[in-house]
Symmetry: C2
Subunit: 320 residues, 2 copies
Amino acid sequence: MKRSLLLCAALTGLCAAAPSPKPSRAPVEIVTTAPAADWSPIAPSDLLVMELAPDANGAARRVVIQLLPPPFSQGWIDNIRALAAAKWWDGAAVNRVQDGYVVQWGDPDGEDKARAKPLPVGLTMVNAADYAASASAIWPLVSVTVAHDTINTANTKTPIYLKDAYAETTLAWRGWPIGADGGQMWPVHCYGSVGVGRDYPPDTGSGAELYAVIGHAPRQLDRNIAVVGRVIEGMEYLSSLPRGTGDFGFYKTAGERTPIRAIRIGTDLPDLPRYQYLSTESESFARYADARANRRDAFYIRPAGGVDVCNVPVPVRQVP
Amino acid sequence: MKRSLLLCAALTGLCAAAPSPKPSRAPVEIVTTAPAADWSPIAPSDLLVMELAPDANGAARRVVIQLLPPPFSQGWIDNIRALAAAKWWDGAAVNRVQDGYVVQWGDPDGEDKARAKPLPVGLTMVNAADYAASASAIWPLVSVTVAHDTINTANTKTPIYLKDAYAETTLAWRGWPIGADGGQMWPVHCYGSVGVGRDYPPDTGSGAELYAVIGHAPRQLDRNIAVVGRVIEGMEYLSSLPRGTGDFGFYKTAGERTPIRAIRIGTDLPDLPRYQYLSTESESFARYADARANRRDAFYIRPAGGVDVCNVPVPVRQVP
């Protein structure tokens, strides 16, 4: 019996032993060979950079988060910029890690009104209506022809994922996974998405408490809580943290928390690399999405014929 | 501005500050109040128990995996039982942790034919046709009426999830998330699913190399690789491992691997607790699935009106 190649091809099709004739390209091959013109820059001003305390071996742990562009969640993002400018998170901590759900950070004393750290003046309480935006920017989409019954890139370069349990339409748009329905569009929760912790409605959260998704996409949170961005580098520093020992993944003791040294906007960090994303309006992205929905590289024997929006992560990289 | 309650209600609706009048029950409330008769026992003979080396503090790390029942993947599962009986995995290791994808364990020298550990005699190479089974056991389903356009439990206690990008039909059946299409049904890849690493087709893997999903459901693997079970306890010992330092999440050095002390079938472990799952054919499960698709508990302002099969994890617990 042959030895397992350990799933090395499951994501890449780049195993040394790949058989010939050459099958269709794997998604990662489409991405790595995409022309430079298909990559779009990410402005440092749209990056939120969290420096965790070094790990047990003294290695730095930097988490880079890309913030959403207009028309999404800008009220909360303005608050987040103000919190970063005020260095409000310096000395905060990761307080909660719930397996398969979220990692959450902010003021460890936030639940105790007597000890909670005061917020900077000038933050706004954003209305819950802003969990979504008007879909006029994308609607009506150019004529859509169904191919594979699940994804369409025939008459538009914007891939449309047609079968989704949570939204009438899901698509990749200007670099982000989006849901759309009834004249609205909204950013969806995927692995690595960053959102704003909040109290019960009508509270919508200030932005001082943030979370990142570390499990299967909790799409039930869409339009119930503000998505503000996604982790583009350093995700492993959040997802591999020890799980919380108390209810809902909160740590029972202060010593278990991971201290946050600082959170800054990218423009305040001269050493920050430049990043870019594969334009969701490019031919390369359309081919990448099609390949994610119809794996024909050597490892696969049966293409799925479909894909969900969170299983087509928008490629992001440091500028080569 | 109110302080964030840190999303404590996002999963449970059990926060102390929950407003009245009492909203609809959260999924976890439906589960915890389900009658004893709605819980089904899991036979110890259907459990695969992996004892990792203790953590840095000396604490034990036990991972409990429930194996699939017939008609699914029984050829690979027979191999797995033979490997456990032969104590083949004693001294094996977790060799790969790829963020957002899989944790994988087996023979660290498996890729080197000269050094690979011989497999026990008598293992079978299973045919790729066995990635799926005949759907005759579930097909035709009793008359389905669409409610909420996404989930139906009206005329059957088997919840059907109608919008899925990967399968014509997805459902919860005899305790497992299942895809069905064209007279076939198959176990799907969700967070925590356990499958069999393999080489390129026509290889289908022996069962000696196993992986667990630690990210968003990689449904493109369905019917391309054998799912054999799911982690029901100790998932955090896999999902929080340090991510691999090499390509595809493999560790570059032997010292980074997590040693496996032993893997045994549950019947060989007298101290193993008894487990049970919430019967997917029970009224409680139908209500739980409906609540997962339509969150109406206090934290939510807008029920999604739908859910995907991997976002309705089958509740499993130790027998109270």
